[in-house]
């Protein structure tokens, strides 16, 4: 269909409005109440045009384009109506834009600057409405509202929720909920579409909730940006909600090759970012991943990337999450990979650090088997060769350039050496290191943990040690740490579960000494700690403690476990440039000081998390692939990603309730066994929990209107 707009020949689709035809052709006509995702109403009267020489202007958004139509948006009659409409809008809008969060991004501001309109000839007075910041996530500052109704239409028509509407009040018409109840009482789903479509600063994200150091997208979907591997969390939660377990796993696997392990033990930084923290409780994202993973049938496997063999060979030193992740993606890119592992089995900290009651061997074995299977694909022989029990002291020597057989080497040896604090009694018999203690327990030859056990440290590893000691039959287990409880790095769940199993916490204590049982016995008998009022790091990053006088406590101890951090073994002799002591120094692409050698995971970053190690593995794999002549693209599409339905519908029962808790053994029961104590969600539990997701990402599907300067 052809028509003429402002003298320009324009093509338009059947059924398009004159406004859409003009905007699509790059001809800007001012408009406010029309939004790309919303039906036109013709309320703002800015998109006025004269058609076929008619003297009475009409609004372009509600006028259908016709063949041969002659449209003039600059006709004096159209311009007069448009300018007066803008004057009337501005007359009751606050005059000072500078204090508004939308300053510079406001459609109204952009539009009136384009039109060069001032309301001064009219009665200029804004209509103050009290700011409503009582709702989670969404703040209403309706003094700025211009009643364009975009939020109302987005809520009703796009989302099918319908909690916002025009309301008659004593002080005039304003947007609000029926009965002026809170958004929750009205049945809001907190999808934030209203914020997205608001052309002014009337409906905004709660002040301070958006971080300046994050992109718009990351601020809108904070769980995804909070995940080190950027798993598309809202996407897989939608699949879980629909009971599409394979699709959910496929979405997870597009970023990480250990869905079930992560579902058991992930530190889930995504959950602390979840926007539902402001609304009852965050989604149980980690458990939902497990719920999907245990029901996975592997239908995604057919779509795994499997590029032709390149003839290149890569050695991976250390079969932890970083090394195995890199091995998988390198194999998928067509490289032959040999993985060297000093221990008898693969898994790294997943097998030798994390206790079995959290992550049993079977899960690690299963996920390793899947990695081997999908990387081999239809090849006759495996692309990944596992060589366990081989410790590589000099990875550089593996390189062809240094006499070895490999084109590239990745060092991912992790942090398997515990730290012994230089304090009195640290070397007494019965004093253990976290790494030794946990590894021995996993290898089936646990260290003696009878009698009273004192764990020094306050992180999750300290609790792993304490709860392992409980299971090994300790009479009592005390955890002492410098930090006050609210500053401890262990998760609150970990502390609560530990307490249920009998672990006693002594927070905010300095470690004074480990004492002999009898003078000269050489065996530990007690630990003396002292209450502190304050603990911080000074300008030189040295720990400073302020002791409480008379706050000394001596705890009986038959065994003491240091759980105050761990560091890489063996890196000193590798011939690689190191940093902060034993950590391998790399650039952003994880290249080390030696060409052809990469490093990834805890041995680079310090002890972090499985998910962070996996992301390191991905970065290294991509970088190594480029080095070997590939394009570095390791992305995968393991399931269909159809367009999201924008419709949410009325709020379902239980939407505002807290988390669904899976079945879990009681403290006294689980304290006696290394068997996993928490069951995966049942199907119904998982679907119910997943339906609590706000689906923040749907907001990104809404189209941002182009401002005039973008034409």
């Amino acid at each position: 269909m052809n028509l003429t707009i402002n003298g320009q020949q324009v093509e338009a689709a059947e059924g398009a409005s004159v406004l859409d035809a003009a905007l699509d052709a790059g001809i800007f006509i001012p408009h406010l109440c029309k939004h790309p995702d919303l039906e036109a109403v013709g309320g703002c009267r800015l998109c006025m045009v004269c058609v076929d020489g008619a003297s009475e202007p009409v609004c372009a958004c509600k006028t259908a384009a016709r063949e041969g139509m002659v449209v003039d948006s600059e006709a004096p009659a159209a311009d007069r109506v448009r300018r007066m409409a803008m004057e009337l809008i501005l007359a009751t809008h606050p005059t000072d834009c500078t204090g508004c969060v939308k300053y510079g991004k406001c459609e109204l501001q952009s539009m009136y600057q384009y039109m060069g309109v001032s309301p001064m000839r009219w009665r200029v007075k804004s209509r103050p409405v009290a700011t409503d910041d009582s709702n989670p996530l969404i703040t209403h500052m309706f003094t700025r509202c211009i009643r364009c109704g975009r939020c109302v239409r987005a809520c009703r028509d796009v989302r099918g929720v319908g909690v916002l509407d025009y309301q008659h009040t004593e002080n005039g018409i304003r947007i609000g909920t029926d009965g002026h109840v809170t958004l929750e009482q009205a049945g809001c789903r907190f999808c934030e579409a209203c914020i997205e479509v608001c052309p002014t600063g009337s409906i905004i994200d709660v002040l301070g909730s958006l971080r300046d150091d994050r992109s718009r997208e990351d601020n809108i979907v904070p769980c995804r940006s909070g995940c080190p591997a950027h798993i598309d969390i809202p996407e897989y939660l939608r699949h879980v909600k629909d009971g599409a377990w394979d699709d959910a796993v496929a979405v997870v696997r597009e970023r990480v090759p250990f869905p079930e392990s992560l579902g058991c033990i992930c530190t889930h930084s995504c959950e602390s970012e979840c926007k539902r923290n402001g609304l009852t409780a965050p989604l149980s994202i980690c458990r939902l991943k497990r719920a999907a993973a245990v029901r996975d049938t592997g239908s995604w496997k057919a779509r795994v990337r499997h590029e032709a063999l390149t003839g290149k060979r890569v050695a991976v030193v250390g079969a932890g999450p970083a090394g195995l992740t890199a091995a998988l993606y390198l194999a998928e890119k067509g490289h032959m990979v040999t993985v060297y592992e000093a221990n008898e089995k693969v898994g790294g900290q997943m097998r030798y650090g994390i206790p079995a009651y959290r992550l049993p061997d079977e899960v690690v074995d299963r996920e390793m088997a899947t990695i081997s299977e999908i990387s081999q694909g239809c090849d006759e022989s495996p692309r990944i060769e596992l060589r366990c029990g081989e410790r590589i002291g000099d990875p550089v020597a593996l390189l062809a350039a240094h006499g070895g057989a490999f084109d590239a080497v990745l060092v991912s040896v992790g942090t398997h050496a515990g730290t012994r604090l230089p304090m009195s009694g640290a070397d007494l018999a019965g004093v253990y290191l976290n790494t030794d203690f946990l590894k021995a327990a996993r290898q089936g030859s646990p260290l003696d943990a009878s009698g009273h056990v004192v764990v020094l440290g306050g992180g999750n590893v300290a609790y792993d040690c304490a709860r392992t000691a409980v299971r090994l039959g300790a009479a009592s287990v005390d955890v002492c740490c410098l930090e006050a409880e609210d500053k401890m790095t262990s998760t609150p769940e970990e502390r609560a579960e530990g307490a249920e199993e009998g672990v006693v916490l002594h927070d905010a204590y300095a470690f004074n000494s480990i004492n002999e049982s009898e003078p000269g016995s050489g065996r530990v008998g007690s630990v003396t700690v002292q209450k502190i009022s304050r603990f911080y790091f000074d300008e030189d990053h040295r720990a400073v403690t302020e002791l409480v006088e008379g706050g000394e406590v001596t705890l009986p101890a038959d065994h003491v476990i240091f759980a105050v951090g761990q560091k890489p073994e063996d890196t000193a002799g590798m011939g690689l440039e190191l940093t902060h002591g034993p950590y391998v120094s790399t650039d952003a692409a994880l290249r080390t000081s030696v060409e052809g050698v990469w490093a990834a995971g805890d041995c680079v970053t310090g002890t972090k998390s499985v998910i962070a190690a996996i992301e390191q593995g991905r970065i290294a794999a991509s970088s190594i692939d480029e080095f070997l002549g590939g394009d570095g693209d390791i992305s995968e599409v393991l399931t269909d990603h159809p367009e999201h339905s924008p419709l949410l519908g009325k709020v379902p029962e239980g939407y505002y309730d807290g988390r669904v808790e899976p079945a879990s053994a009681e403290g006294v029961v689980r304290a006696k066994t290394f068997a996993p104590f928490e069951a995966p969600y049942t199907c119904d539990e998982a679907r119910c929990e997943a339906s609590r997701c706000l689906q923040c990402d749907l907001r990104l599907d809404l189209h941002a209107p182009r401002l005039w300067n973008e034409y």
Partner: protein, 367 residues
């Protein structure tokens, strides 16, 4: 075809359709049935507060609960609009989305039209206890007489929403189309500006807020006329209204904003001089706008006692013992305290016509 018969009062003080319905529900039901085309759907709207009437009508029509809808009487004007009434039949609020009368499959019949005699319009004249029947096109003099206003006292006839017509009473034979349930006869005592302000305030309450010209336009008109009535009018105000009103009359989304624009334009056309006098001459010819009322001390009644001087907090009264006191109009704030302080009844309030008073206090002549 969906037929909607509307008994919602367009004006709450002029519930003509409801009045006719209540007079004979059985006969009304007969007419309603006759109005529905074969195979067409029927919905009847009655106010939510009339539950008993709704039940009676359902019985008489032999229809279920959902055919007679008890609608929200918060708004009235919107029920003249078919797009708004269709919304009500869907369980939504009565919000118009377009000018009425353009829906192909919907027929909206006002109850008054359905139940009234052909050629007759039942209207409710402002202040009356009951509606009266008048010819649809009626002589101004007949409307005045129905309103009980002497032709010499009448100034104009105002026909309410959706018509918004204003016809001068100067020519008694002039015809007026009674296109509304509500009619008001303006008398010499009515100030055109303050009547317009009343009308615009009603439009403000009846508006839905969806469109700029309907909502912001009516707000500007009401604010400007309000200022004029409060002696705060500005020289450009009539031009502003002349600019805005015709645009509202064509560019508002529905009849509500359009009629507000039309009505304002009619008032300015007929009573522009009277309204403008508020601004230029600082007078309200009808003596109705309070801001233009002044207080005066009648020289022949003042005894020079000084009680009023003590009562005036603004020190706006000049005078001394045995002198006729005078109010300094520039200092007076029209609080009226002096009126009650004067035992002689010498202080009066005046509108358009002011009494003669001395410019400054003069001795009281012996009586």
């Amino acid at each position: 075809m969906l037929t909607i018969v509307n008994f919602m009062p367009v004006y709450h003080q002029a519930p003509v359709s409801l009045h006719l319905l209540k007079a004979d529900v059985a006969a009304a039901a007969e007419r309603i049935r006759a109005a529905v085309e074969d195979g067409g759907d029927l919905r009847v709207l009655v106010p939510a507060c009339e539950t008993a009437l709704a039940d009676e009508l359902r019985c008489a029509l032999g229809l279920g609960a959902d055919a007679v809808i008890e609608a929200d009487p918060l708004l009235g004007f919107v029920y003249e609009n078919d797009t708004a009434c269709v919304q009500v039949t869907r369980g939504e609020k009565p919000i118009p989305s377009d000018v009425g009368g353009n829906l192909p499959d919907v027929r909206l019949i006002p109850g008054s039209e359905l139940l009234g005699a052909p050629g007759v319009r039942t209207v409710w004249i402002e202040g009356a206890d009951a509606p009266v029947d008048l010819p649809e096109a009626c002589a101004v003099a007949d409307v005045c007489s129905a309103a009980g206003v002497a032709p010499s006292d009448a100034k104009a006839v105002y026909v309410g929403f959706p018509s918004g017509a204003l016809v001068s009473a100067g020519d008694g034979e002039a015809r007026v189309e009674l296109g509304s349930d509500y009619v008001r006869v303006l008398t010499k005592k009515d100030c055109a500006a303050s009547v317009l302000l009343e009308i615009l305030s009603t439009y403000r309450q009846e508006g839905c807020g969806r469109c700029v010209y309907g909502h912001e336009g009516t707000y500007q008109l009401a604010t400007i006329v309000g200022d004029i009535c409060r002696k705060k009018g500005q020289r450009a105000d009539l031009d502003l209204m002349r600019d805005l009103a015709p645009v509202m009359a064509t560019q508002s989304l529905c009849e509500v904003g359009r009629a507000a624009g039309r009505t304002t334009a009619s008032f300015i056309e007929l009573f522009g001089d009277e309204i403008e006098a508020h601004i230029t001459k600082k007078t309200c010819a009808a003596g109705a706008c309070k801001a233009f009322m002044t207080y005066h001390i009648l020289p022949d009644k003042c005894v020079g006692c000084g009680e009023c001087v003590d009562a005036c907090e603004e020190d706006a009264i000049l005078g001394k013992a045995r002198f006729i006191h005078v109010i300094d109009q520039k200092a007076c704030v029209q609080c009226g305290a002096c009126v009650s302080a004067c035992d002689e009844g010498a202080i009066i309030q005046a509108g358009a016509e002011k009494p003669r008073t001395p410019p400054r206090p003069i001795p009281i002549r012996r009586r």
